[in-house]
Amino acid sequence: MRHLLIQELVVRVIKRVGRWFDQRLQLAGPIKETMAHPVPRRTASWFYVFGSGALTVFLLQLVTGILLAIVYVPSAGEAWSSLQALNYQISAGWFIRALHGWGSNFMLAIVVIHMVQVFLFGAHKYPRELTWIVGVFLLLMTLGMAFTGQVLRFDQDAYWGLGIGTSIVSRVPFVGPQLVSLLLGGPIIAAATLSRFFALHVFVIPGTLIALVALHLLLVLKLGINEWPMPGRIVRRATYLQEYHELTQRDGVPFVPSAVVKDIFFSAAILLSIAVCAFVLGPFGPSGQPDPTIIQTAPQPDFFFLWLYTLLSLLPPSSETPILLIGPAIALIVLIGLPFFAGEGEKSWKRRPIAVLTVLLIAVGLGTLTHLGQYTPWSPIMDAWSSQPIPGKYLISRSPLERQGALVFQSKQCRNCHSLGDTGGQRGPPLDQVAVRLTQDQLIRQVIQGGGNMPAYRNNLSPPQTTALVAFLQTLHPIGQAPARDASQTELLKLGP
């Protein structure tokens, strides 16, 4: 009896406090209305969870970001050691760093998936054009956060990654050098550079993100969640709003709890995945100290910029600058313009083959470039000449001259770019069967003159060294398959002396 009385008292107090606040805030009504607003029944789907998932990860990034900021020192001289302190001295510091790092990867992934889903479901069409455009800028801001965050992890990769970014920016016509100074805050990558990237990563971009996310959400609430696209249900500016209203009235469910359940479960699953990745795989770096005098480094960007890294090595030098400068502008114009030239018509991906093919093409393209970026076949392996000896099978029963040639091959760094027996660089072609492809004369010419992306060695090899090297290269052919031979020489042999 007494127990019940206390319970009643507590409930009454809570209600009175709640009423006190609501008399002043007057938010209970709008919140209830928003929660109960009807959404099309079929949008309560697992395909519609990515937007709220991205928001959840963004909140995680805000919290972990603030936690990191209370320890991190944004000074070029001390940032690296403060990351070491986070990793090794502060309790759970490594885990907060890992959460923030993995959260960044998950956020980018979910934002991209959200964008693809929205595009395939035709949600960018009338009247949600502005929602899409704000979303495009949210993607840009997320990419901006990823790049600036990589800089704040002020290690070797960050230092030289900034160098790459600077070199790209410097190619802007007319104002390139001025933009470089603005980006670096001085003549070189140093303290001023890190400070301004800190300001960007911690104030400017997150502030913009929060404002844009609010705008994005407001638009979603005002215009309603995109209905499940049905093949044959055409979007027309004149009739769409009326049709959507009828759909939600006739076949709608309240957003809370019917639709939000899946969002909540997905958010929990994502947070758990990030936590597991962070716990098992740990934080990203930092790699070596940001000391430019340590040049024994092969800088690589983070996962989401690997495709760009690949593109920069595969583009022909002459077209690189125009493509780098004009490409992003075109991509932005296409993305922003999309809802204007495809704002009506079919929404269902089943009736939009070009849309599906475009998504597939971009996915395969970026996937391939990323895959290549992970093992960089275009980079020489800088220590292959001293760490990866020629396999023994290429040295057995060879003449002294040929073995001398193998020595030249090894010591002149040929292996940095050419593989033998699957070890060595992949910048140039593998040479396991080179004797089948090139005759003796062609081998000599290639070594002396270079060409086809190979340096000329005429000044770096003495004639005896060249002779020995070519003798070795001529032994590189499969057993039972004769090396290539000049046809005219065969004729000469037939003629005899």
Partner: protein
Amino acid sequence: MTTSDRPTRRAVLVKIGILLNAAVGAVLAVPVLRYVLSPVTRQRKQGDGAWVSLGSLEKFPAGQTRLATYQHPSATPSDGETAETPCWVRHLQGDTFQIFAINCAHLGCPVRWFPQSNLFMCPCHGGVYYQDGSRASGPPERGMFEYSYKVEQGMLLIKAGEMPTPGAQASLSKGSSPCATSSSRSSSCA
């Protein structure tokens, strides 16, 4: 014009108030812009940058290419180790040098010197240069960036400028390469 269309005293005051704010905003924008653009404007004032010593000539034997480092003249205490800048010094003979920036002419990665094959190689996208800094292969569109240098009292001095980038190549390459100017020395440069 009817009486209702005539601007009231209040409406005029609001407009004047907005104009006042715009004027103050414009005035405030001047120092803000100067502050934001200071890295661009300050650099122009300083002009050419200073001569920095790479050490005595004995550190650089003739006919060899060695790594040297220098403290950038613009360094501040908070720069830490980033103020140390490396460069490649090629001593041809006598007082003739070639001093290359560490940065690849493609995208600024640190190139490495291989004395065995007399090549500079870049670990990023595979740019390769000959010993005189000219382009050998790979994506770079030009040879390596060179510093201006002079020899004074047995010390090798270079003119340290801004970080060399493909778009801002003029700053470092004022001192022309001895290989490019003098045909008599070209044999040793090749």
